[in-house]
Symmetry: C2
Subunit: 547 residues, 2 copies
Amino acid sequence: MLSCTPTIKPQFQKGVQDALLIRDQSLPPDSILSPPPPAELLDVTGIPRSCGLLTDWELEITEKYDATALVQGLAAQKFTAVAVLNAFRKRASIAQQLTNCITELLPEALEQAKAADDYIRKTGNTLGPLHGLPISLKEQIAVANHPTNAGFVAWVDHIVQRDANLVASLRSLGAIPFTRTNQPQSFMQLETSNNIYGVTVHPMNRSLTAGGSSGGETALMVLGGTPLGFGGDIGGSIRGPAALSGLWGFKPSVGRYSGAGVVVPWPGCDSISGTLGPFARSLRDIDLVQRAYSESRPWAEDPSLVPYPVAIHHAPAWNRPLRVGIMVNDGLFNPLPPVQLVLQDVTKKLEASPLIQVRPFEPLDHERAWQVISANYFEDGGAKIEEICAESGEELRPLTAWMIEECRKNEALVHQTIQGRKAARDEFRALYSAHWNAAGVDVVIAPVAPSTAPPPDTSRYWPYSAVWNLLDYPSIAFPASDMIGGYSKDLKGIPYNPKTAAETYAYSHYDPETAQHMPIGLQIIAKKWQDSECLAAAQVIERALKG
Amino acid sequence: MLSCTPTIKPQFQKGVQDALLIRDQSLPPDSILSPPPPAELLDVTGIPRSCGLLTDWELEITEKYDATALVQGLAAQKFTAVAVLNAFRKRASIAQQLTNCITELLPEALEQAKAADDYIRKTGNTLGPLHGLPISLKEQIAVANHPTNAGFVAWVDHIVQRDANLVASLRSLGAIPFTRTNQPQSFMQLETSNNIYGVTVHPMNRSLTAGGSSGGETALMVLGGTPLGFGGDIGGSIRGPAALSGLWGFKPSVGRYSGAGVVVPWPGCDSISGTLGPFARSLRDIDLVQRAYSESRPWAEDPSLVPYPVAIHHAPAWNRPLRVGIMVNDGLFNPLPPVQLVLQDVTKKLEASPLIQVRPFEPLDHERAWQVISANYFEDGGAKIEEICAESGEELRPLTAWMIEECRKNEALVHQTIQGRKAARDEFRALYSAHWNAAGVDVVIAPVAPSTAPPPDTSRYWPYSAVWNLLDYPSIAFPASDMIGGYSKDLKGIPYNPKTAAETYAYSHYDPETAQHMPIGLQIIAKKWQDSECLAAAQVIERALKG
């Protein structure tokens, strides 16, 4: 987890040390693991319970209550916001020591929790539908008066004056932003590694990546360190880590969540836009936050948003079986055995439901899709990332360098101008829309990633998630393997014959024994703007799988 | 009205001659003015009635019925689609001979009208909510199997295979696209002049421009040659000619009307996007077409659209007086006397209404707004326009050349990269949204143009209309001077002291005696995506003005 690379210029080294100090000093003294578990202990999910630092009540609150149950209890004054916050602060601190997942606990959260408690005690009313709920935020989502570095050493001490719009909305709903989570350098990685805070590892196996770019969020949530969190997704950065961690992660259409105040290297770069979105331990929590956020009318403050609410009850009734397309592979990369197996078992369960009509869904030229989206990510060919890194002397992380190279290669392939690359994007979107309509499906279930969590610095296959960013189709990752009771077979018994360089590369990092203990999620995709329909379909599918 | 410039390369001259032949041969033989009125006759609005070519029934149908009354009559089988179509074909032909407003009558419309009549006769049902309604279309909106040149000589014989999505939607609603209307070279003009068909002039004074870029539509409609039409607006091209002609013209938010199949010089150029929108002789006609188009669910076919309907009844009730901001000038250019006078008189009438609360609205740095939008129009600095013109040897029209120069100047001023110019755009949008919210208004009424229709080749002031394209706020032009019974004073009695170069230039082309006979429209602007609210506010304002 060493963070400071030796190349960092002296004038930036102090900033990095200060950032680490801010983080470490923010951890409650009564939450320090002493001694920490040995590095050889890979699965640390039992530590919060076994370490003895959390009371039974704290264990109960952080493990047995989802966000919906928490806001119900807080509104009923069964427990106080301060008590809930302190439980999550301690547990987040433990998670940090185990996986390096947070960048700081926010000290002001304590005052806010006290104010929430005072308010409800005096008035009998909640501050809003998320009254007293602790919420975690990916680091780039600015919090007023805190440095926000977006994973860049050069920005390590850049203090932001105003809350990001999302943070202000969450506060207005009564929620309490309480911790910020790690993200990668440049955020253009499906992992979580930077030269300030280092690498975030997977709590179920610390030799593996937590995924990314919102991997700090998921490592924290898997360890019970947050009831609800927010990340960002421009190519899979919410759905990827959610799928590798057995969590729900929702990537809405761009134009639903305000990105105002989120620190990015390239304002104005919108050939492909990312979006914020929530992580949760249950679908009802995703719906909770959607309903609440819609109530806050974020579009009044951010003119880039559409003024329409998103939540399950806003979806029109189907009045017939849900037509679910199953995309077993993307025509380029045959998923590794765990993904194949889970998708097969999920399909069988769905086929048994009278509420669902399963049909195959064929991908439409995802090779072209990847070329087009990667050619459109950087309008400056990645120059700004290199420039920001050069400013501090920090090295490009391996996956940052790989991504810049990949994008440049595809820029040259697709078109020499930004306008021409956008025309290719629009053309592909129109073709895919017609293809989807012809397939006659309401939603599609597909892999998010081709495998369970791989070792760090090897996540080089984006198309399963990124195609839906190119199309800007809403998509929700769901904990598929957990919902069907885990793998129905020994993965060692399932053969796999890699045929392409990408398959061979991923297979070389695949170990069936390791994978057997790791979850795999899938995603449910709906057409553009059908965010409510995506969530409503997820509810139907969840019932069929748990049924 | 001479079109062919001498510089056009020989191999393109035949194409131009053919285009003119197609147009002229499409005119019904019984609609030819012989002799045409003398060029010195400036106001030709009386000619359709006086020329003797139209029967009393045809005069009645084309003058006294708006689109709503026409579809009611067609649905009730009070008249046939063929009879209605023939009336408008003849009148459009007369309008063409008077103002040079169309590029062709579509011969296939006759078959479609017959089919509509057969259908309703046999089934008793309409083909849809626009059953049998003739509709005119700006030339760039592609019609299958016809050349679509978008005002460029080089494209004069480019045949398009498929209807634009809008055309397909209109057909599916029962409407009958029957004529195509003139537009300028490059469509980046607030007038209507190109080197194929020439210049479209104003039917109320043929020494003046009809406005543009959708000026073919408005010249045609003023002469009763179409009951409903469609144009496009990226800087005022719907609202401008509507305001100069006493018509309604609606520029919705981008993402409401499908632009798929509209021929433009630069696919992929979307730093600033234009949109299609309707022209009508009444607000209820605008609402008619909005309701019908929403019913056609255009978003199912075009993934760039939001899946939400737009019409008056979709606006939420205000349950309080409508808060109308009045913007008397943009802080840069004091409107000429006719505009000042109409805005004052409109304001007085609105102040007398108990349903309206009038308040001042101050513009926020429209100088910057113009810099930012013009810097963002061309992602290639206008190179593609020059290239297409060079291909055929045609000259840049004066206003095309002026616009390219203006955009290049402001590109240099705003930022050297496309990304940086878009960042400036986004920053301005956020500032204006906050400014609007702080002003506490539901809608704003403002000038569309600083004067009544000016002489050709002098329309060089875009900000009154273009600022709302930068912000992408929906806006509807309404026939303000007509609705309040014309000018309440002799314009000669109103002094004007030009202070800036732009004011001096416009004032040098201003003649109060000429202006006294020309209408002036204003626009009602709502915040982004509040398209239904914009129309609902227009209804409240219309009632207040008509008293």
